[in-house]
Amino acid sequence: MKVEATATGKNVHPLLKVENLVKRYTKRSLAGTPEELLALDSVSFTISPGTTLAVVGESGSGKSTLANCLACLESPTSGNIWFEGKDIVKLEERACRQVRRQIQLIFQDPASSLNPRWSAFEVLVEPLILQRKFNREEIKKRVNYWLGRVGLSQDIVGRSPMELSGGQRQRLAIARALTLEPKLLILDEALSALDCSVQAQIANLLMELQGSLGMTYLFITHDLAMAAHFADEIAVMDRGRIVEQGPPNKIFIQPEQETTRRLLAAVPRIGRGDQSALER
């Protein structure tokens, strides 16, 4: 794969390179006439290691479909996904499992993405057991290490996720994703369901982990302010296409597309007299 200039200006191999990704859903109505929905319309982008790409867009713009395709949860209709130089679209199940380990997902609402009948410990060890590569000792060591790393105390391991606060739950979800030491973390609206003060805590944790472990993030959100704070580059999606992409400053100061301007206008600001966004 050729070396490309990226957002950070350094010439490095991208960790992830997506080329002309298309995902088409066929919906069959009761009458039996198939209806086509183009969820992803030739999407292309790259992410270099250790950086964050934020994907922003309104609901229905294809953000989550993109996340699912990258995490091998859905297979795209056409196009390529190069992860560390390998095209993961064409991989068979066994090889795909190896790649999935490297790409982990964190969902919006940890209250519904963590099994409420398991203890925090069971939640954390499941991915390690499924990999069948670690013995008891190692599993325990890893769990303890990651608990500390995300700022959870050891004594929560016996509790169910439902007994934890929203912030603790999302920390648990992050620890679970990190136990397998993935290279890419897909954060699908991972902050949206949290309270403002907790959002800041989790955002800080994610930025700290990126600094110390060199994590790479794909940050899917509709919060442009957080995207600008968090990401090296922002891609704006509208109806399955990336309509605009660039560093946050450029997106904020010189938005080129109508979609971007509309999203910017909808960013609520505290204590400022910006009436235009509300009047409609």
Binding site: S165, A225, H229, P268, R272, R280
Partner: protein
């Protein structure tokens, strides 16, 4: 002018396992003026949904109102009997819930669902009902009025469903609407659209509103007054411009600082650590006595550990519960 709704020293607790009572609201007081939008700001566990529920006495079975009054047009709703309450709910005070897809019946056309609200509150005659339903839909959906009223909830977008709930809430011409996180499940552009609908309704119908949210940014340019709840107590209450523009309570200040700013300036604070409020507000981490925010406060003083602050007046309408402002 007299207040349309006056809440005084409201205490609500939940009975958990055994006979233990855990307080959710601890002495909340405020007044709502006719046509005013009161923004109630609070994070999870601050008691904001309990507040919404107690205004119309729709609380879970294990909730217990342990004190205070809710005066509506001279009547204490907390003392009202079920029949009186039934007549007030929906007709004079209506509630909008958070999740529009759960609040609507999935197999009844939305027009019919609005019509049922009217019928339940005593509108008689098929023609009057249909006419009134049409009027309400035309008010909320100026375009595609008929198509939407004939649709089922699943055929509508999240924003449209939320508008149907608004239509139900205003159907009987209430004077107060209580909205509990009405935009939480919507994306930002739709959120703004819904806020626009509320603003228009306020202007046209003179509705007073209690708008409950966890997102302070939604309240600027929308609410007239802002009430900040923390652990069931009013931390700060005052005109929106002063609370949002120049917050005084240490909690409000810290909360606003933790939200990344949308800066037009290049390179300001990107990837910088966001200021956070340390700790959490879960019941187990609240202090036994003293100010409930004391353990997380960066401006704490000796006195904060000893007793609870009482609301101090900064101006006629701006109060802050913090010893820093007590004279």
């Amino acid at each position: 002018m007299t207040a349309i709704l006056e809440i005084h020293d409201l205490h609500v607790s939940y009975r958990s396992s055994g006979s233990e009572l855990s307080p959710a609201l601890k002495g909340v007081s405020f007044r709502l003026m006719p046509g005013e939008i009161m923004g109630v700001l609070g994070e999870s566990g601050s008691g904001k949904s309990t507040l919404a529920g107690s205004l119309v006495r729709l609380l879970p079975g294990n909730a217990l109102v342990t004190g205070g009054t809710v005066q509506f047009e001279g009547k204490d709703l907390l003392q009202a009997n079920p029949d009186e309450l039934q007549a007030i709910r929906g007709r004079h005070i209506s509630l909008i819930f958070q999740e529009p897809s759960l609040a609507l019946h999935p197999t009844i056309r939305v027009g019919e669902q609005v019509r049922q609200v009217l019928a339940a509150h005593g509108s008689r005659g098929k023609r009057t009902l249909n006419e009134r339903t049409r009027q309400i839909f035309a008010e909320i959906f100026p375009e595609e009025t008929d198509r939407i009223s004939r649709s089922y909830p699943h055929q509508l977008s999240g924003g449209q469903r939320q508008r149907v709930l608004i239509a139900q809430a205003i159907a009987c011409g209430p004077s107060v609407v209580v909205a509990d996180e009405p935009t939480a499940s919507l994306d930002p552009t739709t959120q703004m659209e819904i806020l626009g609908v509320f603003r228009r309704l306020r202007e046209r119908l003179g509705l007073a509103m209690i708008f409950i949210t966890h997102n302070p940014a939604l309240l600027s340019d929308f609410a007239d007054h802002v009430l900040v709840l923390y652990a069931g107590e009013v931390a700060e209450c005052g005109p929106a411009e002063s609370v949002l523009g120049l917050p005084r309570h240490p909690y409000t200040k810290a909360l606003f600082q933790s939200i990344p700013a949308v800066s037009g300036k290049p390179g300001t604070g990107r990837k910088a650590k966001l200021p956070v409020i340390l700790g959490d507000s879960s019941r187990s981490s609240l202090p036994i006595r003293g100010c409930c925010f004391e353990p997380r406060c960066t401006e704490r003083m000796e006195i904060c550990k000893e007793r609870e602050p009482s609301p101090a007046n900064l101006s006629v309408s701006h109060t802050v519960s913090c010893f820093k402002y007590e004279s």
